[in-house]
Amino acid sequence: MTRLEDDFVVLDRAHDDAHGPARGADDVFDGATASVAARRRRARMLSAAGLVLVALAGGVALTSGGDGDDETQVDVGAASEGDGGDTDGAGPSDPQPTTTRAPTTVPAGEATRGQLVDVRISAQGGADQVVFQLVEGSDELVAAATVTPTAAPPTGECDPATVELDGAGFLAVRLPADTTADPEGVPPALAGPLAYDESRQITAVEITCAFEGVAVAAIGLVQPDAPFAVQRLSNPPRLLVEVYPR
C-alpha cells in the first residue's frame, strides 16, 4: 500500500470517528427515498399555500395559467425598466431598478443558439439575484431571454409537464441556449435545485428543461407576487434576475 493510500485509509477512519461507522447501503437508500418523499410533500404544501396567497392578493400569477408553462407571450412593452441594452456591464450593486410583475423580455437582439454554462445565486441589498451565464461570444442571445411569473414551476417542452420545486410562486426563465452536453441534460453542477443559504426572496432555482436550443429554469419565490427586475450583463454574457421583497 502506498503512502497516499495509507493516508486515505486514515482519512476514512477519521470520518468514522467524526460521524460514526458507515451507515450501510440500505440505510442510505432509505434516507434518499424518504428525502424524495419529503420534498414532494413540501412542494405540494408550498404550491397549495402559494395559490391561496396569490388568490387572496389578486395577483397576476393565476392568470398565467395552469401548469405555469403557458406558451403565450404577453406583450412586453410594459416590461421593467430594463428596456435597455444600456444595462450592459451593469453590476449587481447598481441602483435598484424599477421592478415589475409583468412578463419581461430583455430588449431584442439577434437570437441564435448558445450554451448555458453556469447558474449562480447571491443576495445583495435585500434582493436575491440569480445569474444565468452563457458561453463567451453569445451576448446577443441574452437579449432573447424572457422572464415570466407563473403559478407552477415551468417545464418548457420537456415531459412530464410538472416538476416539484419549493416556492409560493415562480418565475419562468427561458434562454435561447442549450446546457452543456451531458447524457442527463445538465451537468451535476447545474442539476437539482440550487439554493443559497442567505436567500430571503427565493427558495431555489432549477433548470427544468433543455430542449432544442431553449433552456428553461424555474425560480421558486418565497412571496408569490414578489417584484423582479431583469438586466443583461456582458463580459461574460449573463442574464441577471433580481427578486425584491414586496
Binding site: 502506498t2 503512502r3 497516499l4 493510500e5 493516508d7 486515505f8 486514515v10 482519512l11 476514512d12 477519521a14 470520518h15 470517528d17 467524526a18 460521524h19 458507515a22 451507515r23 450501510g24 447501503a25 440500505d26 440505510d27 442510505v28 437508500f29 434516507g31 434518499a32 427515498t33 428525502s35 424524495v36 420534498r39 414532494r40 412542494a43 417545464t155 417542452e157 420537456c158 415531459d159 412530464p160 410538472t162 416538476v163 416539484e164 442549450d178 446546457t179 452536453a181 451531458d182 447524457p183 442527463e184 441534460g185 445538465v186 451537468p187 451535476p188 453542477a189 442539476a191 437539482g192 435545485p193 443559504d197 432549477e206 433548470i207 427544468t208 428543461c209 433543455a210 430542449f211 432544442e212
Partner: protein
C-alpha cells in the same frame, strides 16, 4: 422528444413502482462500497460521506432512478464531488464567520499531519488522487467522472500531486 436531444428529466416525476425501487435498491447496494470509499476520500472531515452519497442518490431518484443512467457510478461520483465542493464553500463561510466571534481553537488535530495536508486540498483534487492513485483509473475514466477532457484530468492529477508533495515537504522541513 427525440432521444438525441439534451434533456433533463424533471425531478419528482415520474412516480416509480415498488419493483423499480427494489431494483434500484439492489443496484445501489452493489455500488455502495465503492461510493462510500470515494465519498470518504472526497468529503471534508466535517461532512458525513454517507450524507453526500444520500443526497447524490436523492437527486438520481428524483429523476427516475439508477436505471436511467448509462454510467451510474460515474454520475454519482461526479455529483458527490460537486456536493462536497459546494459544502466546502458553504462551510468555509461559516468557519470564517465563527472565527470572528470565537477564540481560535488550540486543540491539535487528532489525525496525522499527512491527512491534514490531504484535507487541505480541494475535494475535486482529492477525488482525482483517489481515482488515479487508488482506483488506478485512466485519464479517460477520470475525465468521465469529473466531466472534463482527459487532458484536463491529467493536468489536475499532476497539480494535485504537486500540491500534496509540496505540503508534505514543508511538513518534513518543519519537523
Amino acid at each position: 422528444m427525440p432521444a438525441d436531444q439534451h434533456r433533463l428529466d424533471p425531478p419528482g416525476t415520474p412516480r416509480r413502482s415498488r419493483g423499480e425501487d427494489e431494483l434500484d435498491r439492489a443496484r445501489f447496494a452493489a455500488l455502495y462500497p465503492e461510493l462510500r470509499r470515494f465519498a470518504s476520500a472526497t468529503a471534508e472531515l466535517d461532512q458525513d460521506p454517507d450524507d453526500l452519497i444520500q443526497e447524490a442518490l436523492t437527486q438520481v431518484l428524483r429523476r427516475g432512478g439508477l436505471a436511467r443512467l448509462d454510467e451510474p457510478v460515474a454520475y454519482l461520483k461526479r455529483t458527490i464531488v460537486h456536493l462536497a465542493a459546494n459544502d466546502r464553500r458553504r462551510l468555509g463561510r461559516r468557519r470564517r464567520a465563527l472565527a470572528q466571534v470565537q477564540a481560535p481553537l488550540s486543540a491539535e488535530p487528532t489525525y496525522p499531519s499527512d491527512v491534514a495536508d490531504l484535507l487541505a486540498l480541494e475535494p475535486a483534487d482529492r477525488a482525482v488522487l483517489w481515482l488515479v492513485e487508488v482506483e488506478r483509473l485512466s485519464a479517460e475514466q477520470v475525465a468521465e467522472v469529473l466531466e472534463c477532457s482527459p487532458e484536463a484530468a491529467r493536468t489536475r492529477a499532476t497539480r494535485a500531486r504537486r500540491r500534496l508533495r509540496r505540503a508534505l515537504d514543508e511538513e518534513e522541513a518543519r519537523s
